[in-house]
Symmetry: C2
Subunit: 182 residues, 2 copies
Amino acid sequence: MSTIKFCSNCGHAVTRRIPEGDQLPRAVCDHCGTITYENPRVVVGCVPEWDGRILLARRAIEPRRGYWTAPAGFLEIGESMHAAAARETAEEALAEVEVGTLLSVVNVLHAAQVHVMFRARMLHERHGAGTESLETALFREGEIPWGDIAFASIHFALERYLADRRDGLEHIHFHDILRAAH
Amino acid sequence: MSTIKFCSNCGHAVTRRIPEGDQLPRAVCDHCGTITYENPRVVVGCVPEWDGRILLARRAIEPRRGYWTAPAGFLEIGESMHAAAARETAEEALAEVEVGTLLSVVNVLHAAQVHVMFRARMLHERHGAGTESLETALFREGEIPWGDIAFASIHFALERYLADRRDGLEHIHFHDILRAAH
């Protein structure tokens, strides 16, 4: 699944082979010796709550344009997971949150991603569509658009969030996804 | 801190600028249009326990050669966090573990890494030095070589592990490191 064809250090074509002392094939540059490692990326988000309702945003961009999601996005270099969850909520749903306990860690194996979701408390009721969203809305438990949730990892996080809330618990839930259901 | 000088898709030199619709500078190729995103990497490991003692390995490789660590290493594409923790323990300390609850999540901001550590139970007492280790040993709480622990994130995880164990708890501990203490 490597997309690396040329060395990012010197621009020469790479070859794909197992370097000495390693166990896996890597993109190796025989010109300058650079080995480029590809590793899973971390997506961080949260389930923001206000007065018992859950804040979701409808995606304005691909993948899954038009479908609903909880705010989430790629962890950037130099930011903590908590900071990333709050930033994504501000960007996608124009809402301010206090990030709470860890809710779910989903290994999205086919996409080379780890999706990490937190619980979160909205600091006020204000929310709205950022540039990556078509609209935002607060949903009561019975109103969640389960058939129109953008990603399996978000579906999983929302289910576990609500089940824990009914039981007065705040567990962490691990899950592996091998292939997206949609 | 970007090390990307050439496009991994076409080999032309990249420029560093903020793409349209983005907030951060990226390595952009003006020849083929590829944007290369750099994100934190995930390091996964565990604190293996046998009969009340903690398994540590002394590093045979840089960084921090000669110092002690709990087994940990980069999460690979296609593997879950739990699988990575068990694999690293097998590779570095030749020990078999059942990976347990999540212990710590440390944002190592200066290194663009997230260090995720789990509790773990050794399935038998056997252990030994893998190719990346000089030696391995089981330590009682009072024997841990605190002054010779390789990384601040591992020091943090071991401290919290033992404190929780004394209290009969299994909490998750978050921590940010801006600059390595050593």
